[in-house]
């Protein structure tokens, strides 16, 4: 399955497949603020901006909208706007935003946990806190990036609901479900969404070299599957040039998703 599509001649790595899959999650978003949390999401979003969706609005992750598309963690690009934290909250409520967050746990119904493992009153492991996940998931499009797909991450039920899946949003009423839009869950093994029966996590594609069984084995609940599962596409040779030579010449991506 692994081909050599690159101009530099080496094989396409899993990290590069993930970057293209993340880029695809943003390709139909139009002119909205793409907010990637973490390195691979940042790489994927910038790849999308340079290929499928040049209208994306991107930031330096701090307070500036960038007019250009600099390499990962580079500074000093042309600025096209100001987005301090207070204005991020405005854009969340405005809705023209697609955030890709991390997830310590994701459950069958696409709820996400970044708050605490174990009982909330006395966690066995305190995490970051719910951050903006509750607000993101009822206001703007939200995707998740999971660099290590395992049954520790994909659990039957999350310990704390930070990000709200579609079923819980519907149960909370129209104010919660109206803008709830859990778009994609991209992992090091597969691409998923929440389009399964009863708003459950569904397997859309497996990365080259990964089987459906591999993904199911690494998931703590039964995945919904509609018909034959596709293989996630490999990045094109021009995408590989962008990833390898422009956006991530130091191959930071390989640290997050080792081949």
């Amino acid at each position: 399955m692994v081909s050599t599509g690159s101009t530099t001649g080496s094989e396409v790595t899993r990290a590069e497949v993930c970057a293209a899959a993340i880029a695809d999650a943003f390709k139909d978003d139009g002119e909205i603020f793409a907010s990637p949390m973490g390195m691979l999401p940042m790489l994927g979003v910038r790849l999308a901006k340079l290929t499928s969706n040049p209208d994306l609005v991107i930031s330096d992750g701090e307070s500036l909208f960038l007019a250009g598309v600099p390499p990962l963690f580079a500074k000093g690009d042309v600025v096209e706007g100001w987005i301090p934290f207070r204005k991020v909250f405005d854009v969340v409520a405005y809705g023209k935003r697609h955030v890709m967050m991390g997830a310590t746990q994701v459950d069958r119904h696409g709820n996400q946990n970044i708050s605490a493992i174990g009982p909330f009153d006395r966690p066995t492991r305190q995490l970051l806190g719910s951050r903006g996940a509750p607000g993101n998931t009822v206001n703007n499009r939200t995707s998740y990036w999971v660099p290590k797909h395992s049954s520790r991450v994909f659990v039957e039920q999350v310990d704390t609901v930070s990000g709200v899946g579609p079923k819980r949003a519907k149960e909370a009423g129209p104010a919660a479900s109206r803008y709830n839009d859990i778009h994609r869950i991209v992992t090091n093994l597969a691409v998923l969404d929440v389009g399964g029966p009863d708003d459950t996590v569904r397997l859309l594609s497996v990365h080259p070299g990964v089987s459906v069984e591999d993904v199911q084995q690494a998931t703590g609940f039964e995945l919904a599957v509609d018909g034959p599962v596709e293989t996630t596409r490999e990045p094109s040779s021009s995408e590989l040039v962008i990833i390898r030579e422009m956006l991530d010449p130091k191959s930071l991506r390989e640290r997050e998703v080792p081949s």
Binding site: F85, F89, Q126, L128, P134, G135, T137, S162
Partner: protein, 298 residues
Amino acid sequence: MKPRDKQLTIDEVVAQIEDGMTVGIGGWSPRRKPMALVRAILRSDLKDLTIVSWCGADVGLLARAGKIRKLVYAFVSLDSIPLEPNFLRARQDGTIPEIVELDEGMFQTGLYAAAQRLPFLPMRAGLGSDVLVNNPQIATVTSPYADPDGVFEELTAVPALRLDVALVHLNRADVHGNATYLGPDPYFDDLFCMAADKAFVSCEQILDTAGLTAGPEPTPVQRLLVSRMMVAGVVETPNGAHFTTCTPDYERDEKFQKHYAAAAADDEAWAAFEERFLSGDEDAYQAAVAAFHSEQEG
């Protein structure tokens, strides 16, 4: 006639805080935190505080020192070190009696409500999440207005985050309490001040009022974030946000932050850290930090 001079010392600020008060701490995670004032609270006998902060090491330090009875937060992080070790420890050992974890946008809405003297403001954040399950005191409110489909939406009624005291750190201020931020982001320091009965501004440098905007390189008036009418006291604390950022005066002290995080993981190392950095006053702290750096370089 000039408006009154509100200059105070660090200890005079802390003397105005009482046991059991609700204290809001400005900045954002490890950015522009009023750390000199936080360190002064560590040295004080204050106890049973309710701390309201989007937080970083401010909360880690106060939690480790047992100062917090109730914590209102949305996340705690040191950024380059994602999880705050002292906060983790406090949560996992159950040493903070009362915990209110909010969505970070709810936190802002709560400050807005307090700043506008409203009991609550509505928003979507919280709906469907465990923020409303773990905080049964937070209610929902039904819109009196039907949407185009005839639905009366039920929204989160974010309660006002009223503060007894707000502590913020700005780049420059005058003695009256007008203050500028010179970095990339105002954060929410004006809201903290307006949500509080008494707000105290620490700053890198006190200038005369004209100096806040005039000078060889004029500062845009939009950088005047805090007005003196919101401020009860001003204190000059050079390097007072250390080890958090105070851009452009200085960036985060990553070396020191690493040292802090490593020390927090171990009781003996923490005792040594406290002895070396937190046992004296602010001048002693700054001297110990300078010594730490010359050691690292030497």
